[in-house]
Symmetry: none
Subunit: 202 residues, 4 copies
DNA sequence: GATGAATGAGTTTTCATTCAT
DNA sequence: GATGAATGAAAACTCATTCAT
């Protein structure tokens, strides 16, 4: 077999691998969303794929690993987005608009229709998730700049902001149709000015 | 057997039943806290009890049912507390102080030491939980009174406030020792005035 | 307590005992009929009674024992009937008419409506059942008298006759409404003259 | 892997599957025969196999399902035999000889030695069993031809004939050694001429 | 690397039976 | 003798993972 063909074949193989991996991840995302992590079985995942059950283990060592990979994957996709927004944003409001809008649109895309199954993962179950938390914390710290009291507890504040995004997002998913933009506007206002102020305007 | 004795016996039996139910619930609470809902098995629960395996099924039909009972139980305990605070509180700040303080102290009591395992149950998985959500929503609506724009989306705002409490609470549980009062102060400020204002003070 | 009262009370007790025993037997008969022996549980039986589960064991040592008691009971009720018919009957036809008619009416009474659940008990699972088999065999032997070849295999012939009664009876139970008399007529004719002869007449 | 090898492998796998299925069915047949359906457990069945417990569930969903499969299987094997006899037989006697002889030999083969446990399944528990009943009924109807009164109740007569075969067969299995031919002769005579006639000859 | 049946440890669940009251 | 909750052995069943092909 000539080197050229070998290379071509290797390319094709790599492509197939990537495609299979993606197929498994996509199936897992849907299954976890519909059944929840515990109720979902590897069989459920593989069944939504046209692969054989054993093949799963060529890609992921276990059910736990794919769950981690999924979370990491989500974080991976979130992180550059957060980064980009951090560069672009002039102020806190701009940054929040960008970030929360993107997050809510992502939620609708990935979970719309299965609202009920948004996985309530621990905030820092995986390294990637922790990275997202840190990214948010750093962004907030930087943007707030010297308007930040030295003793301010940024971990709590970051957690609070993420809590708002999470729960308003979940609430949004429950509506038909979900309105990511309206929800984002309210979430941003809530973070910026607090509940009484947010309640005073529509 | 005389009626008197019968009654006494019935009383003792009812007591034993209640005690067993409580023992199982307590064991489940601990097991869920330590292992997480999914990893926990009915065996794990019953093992922490001095009851026989079959006895579990005299009280709960399945692991899912006890989880629901647990959540309902928690909500049940939360609700009167919320109610009481609603009566007592003069303004939003007073109400939030009371409610969030109580919630955080409850968290520390029930999950302190097993911070990692605060169950991230769906906001409205059970009727009791839905009731808590409604209770919070109503309290907020009433306290805000005419400072509330007619078109304000109270479902989103309530979700946001609960999100703050949940995630700041979780963050607090991760600290040793947890400081429910400090965390509550920050959560309240965040809800009242928003993140920039909360960041400006300690 | 005077002897008189004691006696009266003893009588009442004996009555209650007899009534409870009958209640349990009746419930068991229905439960076995509806679910089959294996699927039926002692709980199912006791549930159809207004007795407590433990009480069952004051009357029967086990589920197996009540099944035996039930079969014995059926046989017990069948046997005197067979005996009586044997005395009364002038000839084979008369005896068969009496016996099979009685058996079919008994079937309708006990299993009508639950046709599907006629228990296919082994012909000789219990002593009482064996006794019925023997009773039938003896009756046949006596009534046939010297029209019986010495080498005739009465066990096979008795089994055959019982087989006819059993299966025609089951078939009858499947009809709505069951017609014990029509079925009995055909069964008797079949036993007496064989299938071709029975087919030649209605 | 080349297509040729793939096919070969698929063939081998299919073979193994078929062999395993047969092994489980055979084990179940023996276990049911020895313990009776109710007393038998899936564990008992799988233990007589060199397969793992979970493997059972790759083939049958439950104990009930394998029982049905077994009955269906038996009926499946009986039907072609009945069909063949129907073509071949010149008259009722010939047909009965063929059919009952075959049935009794089949009984001895499958249940000989475990006489006590011939499963008394409902006559029409499965489609295949219903098919056997229908096959017998049709065969009888055709062979009797115009010697059959128009109002004759063939369902009852068929049930009666099958009852004879069943119970005489069971009686035969209880003997050591079983004599399928002797038993068949008597059963046939009983069906053809009735009990008195059958009793008059050996 | 793909396949898919086999594995068997582990889990849930049932239920006949016991026993303190 | 009645009660009914507790018992725990035994059964059914699941499913992540392995492995021969």
């Amino acid at each position: 077999m000539s080197a050229v063909i070998e290379t071509a074949e290797a390319g094709r193989r790599a492509q197939t691998k990537a495609r299979n991996r993606e197929a498994i991840l996509a199936a897992a995302r849907r299954v976890f969303a519909e059944l929840g992590y515990e109720a979902a079985s590897v069989r459920d995942i593989i069944r939504r794929t046209n692969l054989a059950s054993g093949t799963f283990y060529n890609y992921f060592r276990s059910k736990e690993e794919i769950a981690r990979a999924l979370a990491a994957d989500a974080a991976e996709r979130l992180r550059p987005l957060l980064r980009a927004e951090r560069e672009r944003a002039a102020d806190l409001e701009g940054w929040l608009d960008g970030v929360i809008g993107a997050y809510f649109r992502y939620l609708v895309e990935d979970y719309g229709g299965h609202a009920a199954a948004l996985p309530h993962v621990r905030i820092d179950a995986t390294p990637a998730q922790r990275a997202v938390f840190e990214e948010v914390r750093e962004s907030l710290t930087r943007i707030l700049g010297d308007r930040l009291a030295p003793q301010a507890d940024m971990a709590y504040l970051t957690a609070g902001a993420i809590g708002i995004a999470r729960y308003v997002g979940e609430q949004m998913l429950r509506r038909t149709p979900p309105d990511p933009d309206g929800a984002a506007r309210i979430a941003v206002r809530l973070i910026l000015h607090g509940l009484p102020a947010a309640a005073r305007t529509a």
